[in-house]
Subunit: 291 residues, 2 copies
């Protein structure tokens, strides 16, 4: 049982389960798996602008799990504690048919950035590049080839997802709506559009450096890589255009940059790619478990 000092008017809590079969790509060790389970929760807190204080971990361990693997899990949790300034306050260990790491993260705040606050005329922004992670997964599964430096960056991002908590906390006061992008950019855009009852027009794809070349080299549609991959752990948000310069300044102090990718406009609930005169629907094609 965990205890944490209450501070702030509301408890903010998030539960996210990492399951070996779907969330742990081949080659990812137990240390990075444990760190990733915590990162998945931190990512949500970052998008909501809340600094988490503590977390708990439920482990499902396969029969035959070695002491070395248990130690690696411990190191991954320790990595997370240091990296994001959170404290592990409790947990539970069980036997299971595959590795399961469930993370419950807790924080206090007076309020959080909703998904439902986007307003017509707002800018759409993201805090990170997209496409590296889906490229990295394809490289790991040997379904794609890539230039060595790009491959190493893409795979590193898959193994060590790094939500930027400081950026999220710095950005939050300026945002009208936001969510993280762990299920893919298109899923985040559609969720915000639906929750806010607005249309979203995307004018530029926030492709990471080298993602365009990777797509070409492997005959993959760039748009799918950038919009439909998932695992990116960046923040997708909307804010009043007047607040854009302030948000940029706050974010640069947190060591991050804001990329403007479009604006809130169009038919409520719609998400479209606009380039010149051309308008093309962006489908809601993020990662769906059991879909």
């Amino acid at each position: 049982m965990g205890l944490a000092r209450a501070s702030g008017r509301n408890l903010v809590a998030k539960l996210d389960m990492l399951v070996e079969g779907t969330d742990v790509p081949g080659g990812m060790g137990y240390r990075n798996a444990a760190r990733k389970a915590v990162a998945m929760c931190v990512s949500d807190f970052a998008a909501k602008g809340v600094r988490p204080g503590s977390f708990m971990i439920s482990l499902g361990l396969r029969r035959g799990t070695s002491m070395r693997q248990v130690r690696e899990l411990g190191m991954g949790l320790r990595d997370a504690e240091r990296e994001w300034g959170v404290a592990l306050i409790g947990g539970d260990t069980n036997e299971a048919k595959e590795l399961v790491i469930d993370c419950a993260m807790l924080g206090f705040a007076d309020g959080i950035v909703p998904r439902s606050g986007a307003k017509p005329g707002d800018a759409i922004v993201v805090t990170g590049p997209f496409g590296f992670e889906p490229a990295g997964l394809r490289i790991l599964e040997k379904r794609a080839k890539a230039e060595k430096r790009f491959a190493s960056e893409a795979v590193r991002r898959v193994f060590r997802p790094t939500p930027n908590l400081e950026a999220g906390v710095a950005l939050a006061p300026f945002l009208s709506a936001s969510m993280d992008s762990s299920d893919g950019l298109s899923r985040s855009l559609h969720t915000i559009a639906r929750a806010s009852g607005v249309g979203l027009e995307v004018e530029s794809l926030p492709a990471g450096e080298g993602v365009r070349e990777f797509a070409k080299q492997n005959s993959l549609p760039l748009r799918e890589l950038v919009l439909e991959g998932g695992e990116e752990y960046a923040i997708v948000a909307t804010l009043a255009r007047s607040k854009l310069p302030h948000a940029r300044r706050a974010l640069s102090r947190a060591g991050a940059t804001l990329k403007l990718i479009g604006r809130v406009a169009g038919v409520p609930g719609s998400v479209v790619m606009v380039s010149g005169e051309e308008r093309q629907e962006i489908r809601d094609a993020g990662w769906t478990h059991l879909g």
Copy 2:
């Protein structure tokens, strides 16, 4: 992401994972499995004297899980909400190789009853009968036979564990140490003895009605059934003898009874069964995952 109003000086949080392979006996449906996952957390809150406010659920569902099963899980969570007055505030759904239900339960309190406060001379008490659940498991696995009425009660207790939250809250102000008994009475006694640095002398076994006969009928050692079974979800506690009458009164108002089973005495860390002149060590033999 869940939000709950903060109240009380400390956040109390508990994470407990139910895994199909070890925690869901054959014949237990999805509705009872979901309810049990919440009961496991409620049991801890009851032992600590804290009324929980909310909970989150992470689900790992097997590929091929039917809509009927998903609805049953929902009904079990609804049962738990009603039964213990807690609100489901969030969760996560995943694909897994077996059913996994992880429950994170949250509450606020100024303090909790520790495991470490037992003092020499204190009385040792329990809030429920022991032995029904291990008997029920044996009956379900067709490893034991039983009189029909006993069997039905024992199996019902396995399928619908019912921690008494009201009893726990009523009792807490009088206790020096306590914990729940879901891993077995001997495990709880040893944990309290170690944490408090005291010895425990058990003078009477809190066997449920009919457990003695069941043991005899199946040639099972009564002591093992009562001490080493687990899954009982009662409270094992110590308190000053002078507080016993007050604790009994408070508990009877909550519709429960207190059974005195022994006293805090003897070599620190030891747990012994005392009957007349005879003293026999009680081994620490509760349920251990991966043990």
